[in-house]
């Protein structure tokens, strides 16, 4: 039983850390530029496809990831400079719609280049099997994801909380006018943050690609989760994004694992097996709604 809980906790951690990679960029873009970017998921998709393509071309997963991160960052910067910049001053509805349009375009472009069927991206041979930790087996690749996720989360935290650039970013998130008044080139900062966020998306796409599926529309389902994360955490807060990610990751994984058997203890098996998965899949939305009802600006609001 302990082993089951431990394994599920690791799974939740792995899922949560990947969500964090997506949520980190999203929350900063959201916080600093007050911009809803639905196309964030498309960058994740682009990252996964580019990784698959580069891995296939080079034969190395590492090269694939590096190429994809760089290319996606450039792509992100391009989109920011040519399009998103025009939307900062607009209302949320305009932003939602324009970036919704970007999703449609991105999906179709990917479909034109790679076709409608999922693209193959396999786990590197040496990581395809399990490793033994403690008394049980755990997939090596998932461990790698946890390690990479934790490393990036740590680096990002140091970057944002300890460095000058990080200070600008935090200042930008809590008060944009003030930051401008301090003589910081906010435009450049925006582009840089956006490109960095895109690179993190690509990393998440690359890491999750072999585990899940590299397919059109892969960005949308995870995008919604990333939004749930940053709304729970408080928009603009890296700390909030991390807490929110881990919360969503754990609640989702443990909920799916535990709810059906939990329900079975006091409901008939038939009803439990029907209701269990239903409740498990709405659990994170219940979590988000209750947090928002309790604290309408999330757990760690960046603005006061």
């Amino acid at each position: 039983m302990t082993q089951l809980i431990l394994e599920q906790a690791l799974n939740g951690l792995q899922f949560g850390l990947m969500l964090f990679l997506l949520a980190a960029g999203l929350t900063l873009v959201f916080g600093i530029m007050d911009m809803i970017n639905l196309a964030h998921g498309s960058l994740y998709m682009a990252g996964a496809y580019l990784t698959a393509a580069a891995t296939q071309a080079s034969g190395s997963f590492m090269v694939g990831i590096a190429t994809a991160m760089l290319a996606t960052a450039v792509l992100g910067a391009l989109v920011e400079v040519t399009l998103l910049r025009r939307l900062y001053a607009r209302n949320h509805l305009a932003q939602v719609l324009a970036t919704f349009a970007l999703i449609l375009i991105a999906n179709e472009v990917v479909r034109m280049i790679w076709g409608a069927q999922p693209v193959l991206l396999n786990t590197p041979e040496e990581l395809a099997g399990p490793v033994r930790i403690g008394g049980f087996l755990y997939p090596a690749y998932r461990l790698l994801i946890i390690a990479v996720g934790a490393l990036v989360a740590g680096l990002l935290y140091l970057l944002v909380s300890r460095t000058r650039v990080g200070m600008w970013v935090r200042a930008g998130a809590s008060n944009r006018e003030m930051t401008e008044a301090l003589g910081i080139n906010v435009r450049l900062l925006f582009t840089a943050v956006f490109a960095a966020g895109a690179a993190l998306c690509a990393l998440a796409g690359a890491m999750l690609g072999p585990l899940l599926a590299v397919q059109v529309g892969m960005g949308e389902s995870i995008l919604i989760l990333a939004f749930v994360v940053i709304v729970i955490g408080g928009i603009g807060s890296i700390r909030g994004a991390l807490v929110g990610s881990l919360l969503v990751g754990l609640v989702d994984t443990l909920g799916r694992a535990a709810l059906p058997s939990l329900l079975r203890t006091f409901l008939s098996s038939e009803i439990a097996s029907n209701l269990g998965p239903a409740l498990a899949s709405v659990l994170i939305y219940v979590l988000m709604a209750s947090i928002l009802v309790w604290r309408p600006e999330g757990l760690f609001p960046a603005r006061s």
Binding site: R86, R90, H92, L93, V96, L104, V231
Partner: protein, 317 residues
């Protein structure tokens, strides 16, 4: 964006459009394309759904990203009641409206405490809950949806006939549009539009802003429920996809293309978007790129939508 006003040219255009729509079945019959009558019904139903969202977003200024929930729940109500043997529109449709309104009331009470982005996201979250609940519940057909064997009975009218059904839909839509036009010019309409313009000021003028927004939100949900009830009659299926967040997005796209905060915006947007879909699908499998580009162009260069471009929406700034 001042208050919505209906100018004479606008009235004339609306009446002309109505005349064309009334004559449509005969025109289609003349060119032996009666098949398109049911497509036209579907367009009008989506026009109704978009109009209900336009009341919430365009007039009330509440950017709800979960409107598909009410649309879908209306459809499911009719299908569920039909399973239980209640097939009369006189019962089933009002129940669909009432259930959608209750859902909107519940979601509204909790969501309207939040502002801006948080509101967008919390309405989305609630809609996702409804979506996953419906998909997971086998009694409601789960992922398969719930099919409706026969269209609702509607007094002396035979809704199984596509043309009759079309006219019922058209009549309801026309009534809702007329009512929306009246509401826009009523005291309530002015209040919600003013809240859209400046919420804190309205509160400081003594308006219980929350109540007004809630009422507007609930009316929007109720109308979406009616649209859902009609749609399940048109297609014969309450599908979980009606509740999907992409459906909420599509309704938003419709009103933005048509004109946010314009009485006819939802109609213009729905008809335009769905005709483009019909036409583009024939041209290229990658037609969504075209749709995306058009949408981008509208957002960037025609923020008041088509209704705004032709001077049919609110005045330009």
């Amino acid at each position: 964006m001042g208050f919505y006003t209906t100018s004479t040219p606008r009235r004339i255009a609306a009446i002309a459009l109505l005349a064309v729509l009334v004559g449509l079945p005969w025109m289609l019959q003349a060119i032996d394309q009666s098949f398109y009558v049911s497509l036209a019904s579907r367009m009008l139903i989506f026009a109704l759904a978009a109009t209900s969202l336009n009341l919430v977003i365009g007039f009330g200024g509440m950017v709800s990203f979960g409107h598909a929930a009410y649309f879908g729940i209306g459809a499911y109500c009719v299908a569920i009641l039909a399973e239980g043997g209640i097939v009369s529109a006189a019962y089933a449709w009002p129940v669909a409206i009432a259930v959608a309104a209750l859902l909107a009331l519940f979601i509204g009470i909790l969501s309207l405490r939040t502002r801006g982005v948080y509101f967008i996201m919390i309405t989305l979250a609630f809609a996702q809950m409804v979506f996953y609940l419906v998909v997971s519940l086998k009694t409601w057909g789960g992922d398969d949806g719930l099919s409706l064997g026969h269209r609702s009975s509607f007094g002396a009218f035979d809704l199984k006939d596509d043309t009759t059904f079309y006219f019922v839909v058209l009549a309801l839509l026309a009534f809702v549009l007329m009512a929306l036009d009246r509401v826009a010019h009523s005291r309530f309409g002015r209040v919600i539009q003013s809240i859209r313009e400046n919420e804190t000021r309205m509160e400081a003028l003594g308006y219980p802003v929350f109540s007004y927004k809630l009422v507007c939100f609930v009316i929007g949900g109720a109308l979406a429920g009616l649209a859902g009830a009609l749609l399940v009659n048109q297609t014969g299926l309450a599908s979980p996809n009606l509740l999907h967040w992409m459906q909420s997005g599509t309704l938003m796209v419709m009103i933005v293309i048509g004109g946010v905060g314009s009485v006819m915006g939802g109609v213009v947007g729905a008809v335009l978007l769905m005709s483009c879909e019909e036409a583009f699908v024939e041209i290229s499998p990658h037609w969504q790129i075209g749709l995306g580009l058009v949408l981008l162009a509208v957002v960037l260069w025609a923020p008041l939508g088509i209704a705004g471009l032709v001077g049919w929406g609110r005045e330009r700034e």
